[in-house]
């Protein structure tokens, strides 16, 4: 008798449990007629309001497709088509406009004491190799990339769809392959120049005096690289790294992230382009039309003595060379043999 009751009791418990919980479970399926059920077609909610991302299970071997709806695509679309274009165009064109205005007011920055006619070696062949490797690949990367960002509104109306597809296909091949020399160049520059680009006290003075850009004559003393050049160095190193990381993420899609990560990589890549291209515009300006004697440094590696005295006195001192522009070339300590770093300026006027 007790054993019968002992068996019955759990059974009753089970039945009670099922009877009380089943309706709740059933309701979760929402497959039930309830007072809230629509009684006319007008009441049927067709456009159900989805909240956020919806993911489930798929039987095919592509996990990405388990996501049923990803609403983030809409924000990315706005960035790609609108905000990204506006931000990067304003930054790049704004920089060009600023440089134009600067040139109108300040003109070319001359060597105040004129050329000395003697030169100092500023960059070794390996330095110049690293610079031009990075520079050429950067320019092609920027152009082929910007074709993708702005080509649809700007180029398709001019050259047509077929030609634009051909252009962007080859552009994309170039973009992918030139990423390697670009990264190599950035790493080379990092190794070669990092020791001269560590921020120091003198940089604050340089920045306070506006780098001597605004008023003629005042040249805050600087080492091998002044604060402005250091800022360019770090923009290229850190920006280049950010471009490489985001770029390789785009190149090998979904290896490391999902759709959200791909969208962020693209955003980082485009904003990085805007920052780097604007900074490089300034860099190219000052290295060519903006300043007399500057191009030589990366041209043949030799800078005019007076240019170095005016812009990088601190660096000359470490080379043991007089920094006074009133000293003629003869006052340069020549001693016995050839002075390291000192040579004849090929095209001296």
């Amino acid at each position: 008798m007790t054993s019968f009751l002992g068996k019955l009791f759990p059974a009753i418990l089970m039945a009670v449990f099922l009877l009380t919980t089943a309706p709740a479970a059933y309701a979760q399926l929402d497959q039930r007629v309830s007072p809230a059920s629509p009684s006319t077609k007008e009441e049927v909610e067709l456009y159900e309001q989805l909240q956020g991302k919806l993911s489930g299970y798929v039987s095919i071997p592509d996990g990405k497709l388990a996501t049923l709806v990803q609403p983030e695509g809409r924000e990315w679309r706005d960035f790609r088509n609108y905000y990204g274009r506006i931000i990067s165009a304003v930054m790049m064109l704004g920089m060009l406009a600023l440089l134009g205005v600067f040139y109108l007011f300040r003109g070319k920055i001359r060597i105040a004491a004129g050329r000395a006619g003697r030169t100092v070696t500023r960059f070794m062949p390996i330095d110049r190799f690293a610079h031009w490797l990075t520079a050429t690949s950067f320019m092609i990367l920027a152009l082929t990339g910007l074709v993708l960002s702005f080509g649809r509104p700007l180029l398709i109306p001019v050259i047509g769809h077929e030609a634009f597809t051909a252009l962007s296909t080859y552009g994309k091949y170039s973009h992918n392959f030139l990423s390697f020399p670009f990264v190599l160049g950035v790493l080379l520059m990092l190794v070669l120049w990092i020791k001269d680009n560590i921020p120091e006290k003198a940089d604050i003075t340089w920045i306070k005096q506006g780098g001597g850009f605004l008023n003629n004559g005042s040249h805050p003393e600087a080492g091998r690289f002044n604060a402005g050049q250091k800022m360019i160095f770090w923009t290229i190193i850190l920006g280049g790294l950010a471009m490489a990381v985001s770029g390789y993420m785009l190149m090998f899609p979904f290896y490391l992230t999902g759709v959200g990560g791909m969208q962020i990589s693209h955003i980082v890549h485009l904003l990085g382009t805007a920052v780097m291209v604007s900074v490089i515009f300034g860099h190219i300006y000052i290295g060519t039309v903006g300043m007399e004697g500057a191009f030589d440094a990366m041209g043949n590696g030799e800078v005019d003595l007076n240019w170095a005295r005016e812009h990088h006195a601190g660096w000359l001192k470490t080379q043991g060379i007089s920094t006074d522009t009133r000293d003629g070339p003869s006052k340069v300590p020549t001693g016995g043999g050839p002075v390291p770093g000192l040579g004849q300026h090929a095209g001296a006027d």
Binding site: E43, Y47, E48, D62, K64, L65, S149, N176, F252
Partner: protein
């Protein structure tokens, strides 16, 4: 002119994947490319629902908006198609698509991911209707033959509806009224929010 749409009644879908298989077979879709798939939400739990999903042929389609080479177009029936001649395989349409519809033959972008492929609503592509060129590039053109997409035509529970948006919405609403419940047209608020007059 009809405005073509898909509607998946998740209260009927039994995750049999016949739509997926029909699509693959009809268009000779290559291995690894999935124009249609069945996603199961709350798999194995109370409230489990399966939804057959493919390109929804959105109004103001995001893929078309972000394409760098402008290779998409919308037909008079509201079907969103693209030209594989123009596509450069950049992958941007996948980042923008709310439904994960665009598919690529290659998994890396190195040298391109290959021409994008997606559901055509069985409407072929920009080539001349019902030619071999069109078939090889985009699959069959059932719409040009006066037929509807095969996935929906052969759905055994009639969960997947394809056709004029107004008509399939009407069929669905009638069902919901009769049986008393319905979890809505999956993805419609995302795909067609701009033509909500329906």
């Amino acid at each position: 002119m009809a405005r073509m749409k898909f509607l998946c009644d998740s209260d009927r879908c039994i995750e049999c994947n016949a739509c997926v298989t029909a699509c693959k077979n009809e268009h000779e879709v290559p291995w690894g490319i999935n124009r249609r798939r069945v996603v199961t939400l709350n798999d194995g739990m109370p409230g489990e629902k399966s939804i057959s999903m493919a390109c929804m042929h959105c109004t103001d389609a995001p893929c078309a908006a972000v394409c760098p080479v402008d290779c998409f177009y919308t037909t008079a029936d509201g079907v969103v198609l693209h030209s594989k001649e123009l596509c450069i395989g950049c992958g941007y349409c996948f980042y923008a698509c709310p439904f994960g519809a665009p598919q690529y033959p290659n998994t890396t972008n190195f040298g391109g991911r290959g021409k994008m492929d997606k559901c055509t609503f069985c409407a072929g592509g920009p080539e001349e209707d019902m030619t071999m060129v069109e078939y090889h590039g985009y699959g069959t053109n059932r719409l040009a033959e006066g037929k509807l997409p095969l996935c929906a035509e052969m759905c055994s529970t009639r969960a997947l509806l394809a056709g004029d948006g107004d008509i399939i919405a009407d069929i669905y609403k009638e069902r919901v009224v009769r049986r008393g419940y319905g979890s809505g047209a999956w993805g419609w608020s995302t795909a067609y929010k701009n033509d909500r007059a329906v």
